[in-house]
Amino acid sequence: MKLADIIQSLRDKLPTLKRVIYGVIGLTVLADVLIPRGHPVFITDKIPGFWSVWGLVGAWVLTRVCKGLGHIWLMKDEDYYDK
């Protein structure tokens, strides 16, 4: 079970892994600020870092709205249709 050991060792180095990911995130945002985008169509195309905000806010909105709708309306017991 070699592959499982590799995954396990990555899990053990979680703090290092996190730092690497934060580094990548930082670099991506930096690149977005530095590299000009071609053919702006919408106003959002001109805002550096717009898609970072989109990803974060999008994840939050989707989670809250869908889970919220689920809790107040859509979620039923698993045997709902058998009753």
Binding site: W51, L62, T63
Partner: protein, 589 residues
């Protein structure tokens, strides 16, 4: 009269399927893979043109209309049949594999159909063979889900048939070709609804997340590839540039991920993601520019591979642990690491990470919407992208392989399953690294370059910050053991309310009306029928419908021991209503 030598890959697989039960052991396994390989070879060596054209009872039948649009779909369908066959090699029951091949053959038949009659026959073969991929699971849940699946598809098929007949009445031709978005008729809309039902466009989508998670492990791998993508092909063939499709596509892309966020069953999450991903394609078809149609085709190609990979991964977990609900799983990385790696590759491909197939295909549709300056479509699709990574890229693997340790001890999936997954995973990267191969198959010349600095930073930002969001929201995203209401409520719960009403107050009234109907009604219907048959050769449709009706009843009997309802009669009734409606429409003209 066959024009010249042309091998129909669909007929090869359809007819070849019947040899399968005669073979045993290793020989059957070899044949099981060799048959789709031969079909794939036939597709690779195909030249453009119209083949298998003949005259049949006054109709111009074209079995093989070969152009770039049909070829790219046939290419990926046969490729997928090879992967699916390898993945399903361990299945003992040959009937299961026969059903899968009939289904694949039907789908290829639709892809090459040059007229609506051919299309319709193969369309129905698909529905009636695929239902067995659900029934072979042999649980009460899957038998019931299979019946609902059949009911919905027969209804959709009838709407399509109605559209076809009206179209023939209007134009006198059954040839398939693009319909202009200007001045569509009732016939066009009926055909579109028939196609959209198979493409799972809300609100006629609920059959998909209802049925696919109840299918067998291998069955779901086949089903996720063919029905919806065949429908995308027909939409791209007949309805390019219909704005309603662009809007519906964008809505369905978000609708699907919305349910995926709250769903608990791994395969149901994936099923809702089919709705979402097919939304991109339907949107591309609706935009209708060369780039958008290219995007829809490229995305269908990439999607078939990575979605099958995801279903193979979730299916392997189901096969080895007997579970597919996320709240019952967790900590499997120690036991099924390869399945995990393959599934994660599927997960990042569907999310559209750079260097995967999703990156080069999905972005083409988004870029087409952006290019048309359509903000609604662009931002809906980008929001769906966030939800895709959130629920399939992160939530699904996290709660199966990490999360809270469920204490389940499982073995790694069998070798043939791993090989199937490995081929699909390889293709995900191969298309991502070398998109030219896919772009060369597209119906229009491609001028779009996926790997630009601007596009890379855009996608990476969305993905990385969605990832940050996921870990911040981890507690809120916890899977819950619940069932989520969707529009299938209307025929699952609504049906029982209807039955109660029908069995009490209405039945009394019905007895009286029935008497009047028997004496007066029939004469009226028969004179209507006489007029109908003067314009549409009655023998054909009669044959189709009778065949369908007998097939439904025959199959109904097979599984009746587990079924309480009498769905055959509902379907029979639906057919009758359809013919009455069409008769009425023509009568009134």
């Amino acid at each position: 009269m066959i024009n010249n030598l042309w091998i129909h890959p669909g007929l090869v697989i359809l007819l070849g399927a019947f040899l399968l039960p005669l073979l045993r052991g290793r020989l059957r396994q070899v044949y099981n893979v060799a048959l789709p390989v031969f079909a794939f070879w036939a597709v690779l060596n195909m030249q453009h043109g119209a083949y298998g054209a003949f005259h049949f009872l006054g109709f111009d039948i074209v079995l093989g209309k070969v152009d770039k649009l049909s070829l790219i779909f046939a290419h990926v369908f046969t490729l997928m049949a090879i992967i699916g066959s390898i993945y399903g090699l361990h299945v003992k029951d040959s009937g299961h594999q026969v059903a899968a091949f009939l289904y694949v053959g039907g789908s290829l038949g639709v892809t090459f159909a040059g007229d609506y009659l051919t299309l319709f026959i193969f369309w129905e073969i698909m529905a009636f063979s695929s239902v067995f991929l659900i029934w072979y699971r042999k649980t009460k849940l899957s038998i019931d889900a299979g019946y609902r699946y059949l009911l919905v598809h027969v209804a959709g098929g009838l709407v399509l048939l109605g559209g076809m007949m009206l179209r023939y009445y209007d134009l006198g031709s059954l040839a398939i070709g693009p319909i202009s978005p200007e001045g569509p008729t009732l016939a066009s809309y009926l055909i579109m609804i028939g196609f959209c039902l198979n493409a799972a466009v809300p609100p006629i989508h609920a059959w998909l997340p209802d049925a696919y998670p109840e299918a067998t492990v291998t069955g779901a791998v086949f089903m996720c590839a063919f029905t919806t993508k065949t429908a995308v092909y027909t939409l791209a063939r007949v309805f390019p540039g219909f704005e309603i499709l662009a809007i519906m596509g964008a809505i369905m892309a978000v609708y699907g991920v919305g349910y995926a966020v709250i769903e608990n069953d791994a395969r149901r999450i994936l099923a809702y993601h089919i709705v979402s991903q097919v939304g991109y394609m339907v949107c591309g078809v609706g935009i209708g520019t060369a780039m958008a149609i290219n995007g829809a085709c490229a995305h269908a190609y990439a999607h078939i591979i990575y979605k099958a990979l995801l279903f193979m991964g979730a299916g392997a977990v189901l096969e080895m642990t007997g579970r597919s609900k996320l709240n019952e799983l967790g900590g499997l990385y120690k036991y099924m690491p390869w399945t995990m790696v393959f599934t994660v590759i599927g997960g990042i491909s569907i999310s559209g990470w750079p260097l995967t197939s999703g990156f080069v295909s999905k972005s083409m549709i988004v870029a087409a919407a952006h290019h048309e300056h359509n903000a609604f479509l662009t931002f809906m699709l980008m929001l769906a992208g966030v939800g895709t990574f959130l629920s399939v890229g992160l939530k699904l693997p996290y709660y199966i392989w990490f999360g809270k340790d469920s204490g389940i001890v499982a073995k790694e999936a069998p070798m043939n399953m791993q090989v199937g997954m490995a081929i699909a995973a390889f293709l995900c990267f191969f298309i991502g690294f070398y998109p030219k191969l896919l772009f060369d198959l597209l119906p229009y010349p491609n001028h779009w370059e996926p790997y630009t600095a601007g596009h890379l930073t855009e996608v990476l930002q969305v993905m990385l910050f969605t990832g940050v969001g996921f870990f911040l929201l981890l507690k809120r995203l916890k899977p819950e053991a619940h069932l989520n209401l969707d529009v299938d409520w209307f025929y699952r719960k609504g049906a029982s309310i209807f039955m109660w009403t029908a069995s009490n107050p209405i039945s009394t009234v019905n007895d009286h009306i029935g008497e009047a109907y028997r004496t007066v009604g029939f004469r009226w219907i028969f004179s209507g029928m006489a007029r109908l048959s003067s314009w549409f050769d009655w023998r054909i449709i009669d044959g189709v419908v009778d065949g369908t009706a007998y097939a439904v009843r025959g199959m109904g009997d097979i599984v009746r021991r587990l079924q309480t309802g009498r769905i055959q009669y509902y379907i029979g009734m639906a057919i009758l209503i359809l013919f009455l409606a069409i008769g009425l429409d023509i009568w009134l003209r």
